[in-house]
Symmetry: C2
Subunit: 433 residues, 2 copies
Amino acid sequence: MPHIQLDLSGTEPFIRPEEWKAIAPQVEAAAQLLEQRCGLGADFLGWLDLPVRLDSAELQRIEAAAQRIRSQSEVLVVIGIGGSYLGAQAALEFCRPTLRGKPSGGALEVFFAGTHLSGLYLKQLIRAIGGRDFSVNIISKSGTTLEPALAFRFFRRLLEERYGLAGARERIYATTDRSRGALRALAERQGYEAFVIPDDVGGRFSVLTAVGLLPLAAAGIPLDALLGGAAKAYQRYRDGNVLQNDTLRYAAARNLLYRKGKAIEVLVSYEPRLFYLAEWWKQLYGESEGKDGKGLFPASAQFTTDLHSLGQYLQDGRRHLFETVLDIETPEDGALTVPATEDDLDGLNYLAGKTLHYINRQALQGTMEAHIEGQVPNLRLILPEASPQVLGQLFYFFEKACAVSGYLLGVNPFDQPGVEAYKKNMLRLLKQP
Amino acid sequence: MPHIQLDLSGTEPFIRPEEWKAIAPQVEAAAQLLEQRCGLGADFLGWLDLPVRLDSAELQRIEAAAQRIRSQSEVLVVIGIGGSYLGAQAALEFCRPTLRGKPSGGALEVFFAGTHLSGLYLKQLIRAIGGRDFSVNIISKSGTTLEPALAFRFFRRLLEERYGLAGARERIYATTDRSRGALRALAERQGYEAFVIPDDVGGRFSVLTAVGLLPLAAAGIPLDALLGGAAKAYQRYRDGNVLQNDTLRYAAARNLLYRKGKAIEVLVSYEPRLFYLAEWWKQLYGESEGKDGKGLFPASAQFTTDLHSLGQYLQDGRRHLFETVLDIETPEDGALTVPATEDDLDGLNYLAGKTLHYINRQALQGTMEAHIEGQVPNLRLILPEASPQVLGQLFYFFEKACAVSGYLLGVNPFDQPGVEAYKKNMLRLLKQP
């Protein structure tokens, strides 16, 4: 099984070996807090050994529901926000990249809803479904989070109008709290098939629970590969040695850079299929570390696109950032090769016969060198291939590194006290009774 | 004609009136450099009075070509990168928002290519066009920029295979330098209809030249409304008084915040149609100001989506950022209203009959209050409606404010010396002869 690797050579000009020695005991202490489950937020460590203690009955139920969704519908509407959709969206685009969301060969089309309050989007989505059969997976711990709850009202009504009350019940799948909350109550009253968001797994760590697994299975992503990759990472990253464990090396490097004034981490990718993985990563790190006035600001960039927009800033602007680059090694099957032209007016015939993937990776290499020269530390995470198995590793890698990184920073990586402030104001303005 | 307005009340807790007095003479000096065309980069001020000195013959040619594209094709592939596509992409999504790029009612479908080096994307795009008739607008000053030049090789071959040499020539529209460069030479040799990128307008300021106007006209966006809005903004923002001219107020406010330690400006929107406008804005400000070790890092966020991912950081993380919020006042026509449910298990019946737009704007208001309380200065740009006319104003507003802001920061807002570094390395690695 090929595995992901962290290359820190692009940080060497910026971090002396002694700095590693100085921080190592702190990283080990942070890792210990996690392993011994005695740090802040230790009630929310369910994700830590999730890959090796999966409930196989629940998994079978997920696969069976996925099968049923595929047989009853052409479209699945996944309703959720934040951690209730970003993991599935990221995995779907990574494992089954599409142009504008349209899968080939008549596969199930997946739309996400309840991710914001745009009425226009909702109208267009309803129009896009048209007369096609559809099912709904509503994902919400409480069932009262405004955006998904509102979206669910629209789609529930649509289903009930189209299929009747009994027909709608068979097309609604609820992923929610085991026993509490409005959605659990509704699911029980209506008889929706329901899946569990474990109490000890926070939203941003929930991709490998039913939250992520049901939509992915419905879309035909092989869960065994995804979960097998995560289980492999679980084993691989148990090592407590800072110099050998990539999750600890990543946590240490970003903390070392933060302490010497870096304020922003830019997650860089070179393929569109990584767009939502970056969004998932931004929630994971932003929400886990951005508190008590601390934390690296998590940003993302898509290269080479953004080299023609943010490139100037990255090369030559304020020196308060570093980059973490996702590098997919293996090219696509059946890759396109550059055609020759008779006139060669653009002077690119020397690239004729090369694949775009090859050219893309030279761009990656050249950019890393240029940015390092421009005083931007570069971390590189090498993905041997763009497979579900590698993605499973990647999810677990980032989750574990994030927990250690949060402890190293001195925060509780598992709470999010700041997200209530705007909700409170909004509900006051909406005159919630 | 309704006009956009800048609301700075959300910066008042962070900027004392005396600070405004102190910076006013500097802002006025920066504005003078621009108006008198004697600042750094003054050879690139063609955009400044573009809205009132448009070449009407060129404009007619653009409209005629657009008409021809619509009559000959169902699909237009626009090939360009950075400033050669972001303006058109931003305007297209703003004026004609779609779900996943698919316009309704059989309107011309527009795809962008040459924006990166993903072979998978290119393959999928070719498959998505399928047997439909298509035309190509290749946009490149030099004709040798790697990404668009490579993409053009693929689509030129495809056109020549499908329509023959003569047929392909009638479907290729080149937007390029007036007289120099590989694309100009190719267009002349092949007889492509060609449009001009003016010498004195840099890529990131080029949306209101043929660069942006041809794809937009082809997609059916009314250019007179877009350009009329820009012309209105041109008149409106000539006033030299810092307290009355919103471009100067915006430049001043962001510079005041930068000087007191803010490192990141987050452009916030509440509608998906604004996604690419933020990308366009990031290039404009990042490339204009990110140099000589200076500049605010331009980031963007989509609310309420990102309130469930970056929201924790924004509320409570490191206090080195401020937000500029785009607020669309007028709701969509035929807006959806929240349905009531019999059980009201989610407790949202109190919102039954309200539009999502109304709820979205309460979220905006509540979030601004929460973030200001969390020590994040908030600027708000009010867009009276999501029309081409308002977008024309917005483009001009941001361009002019950016130029003044760059002078205020003490940089040349019109060059981009840093973007060559990675290209040099890449071409060396690719063994360019």
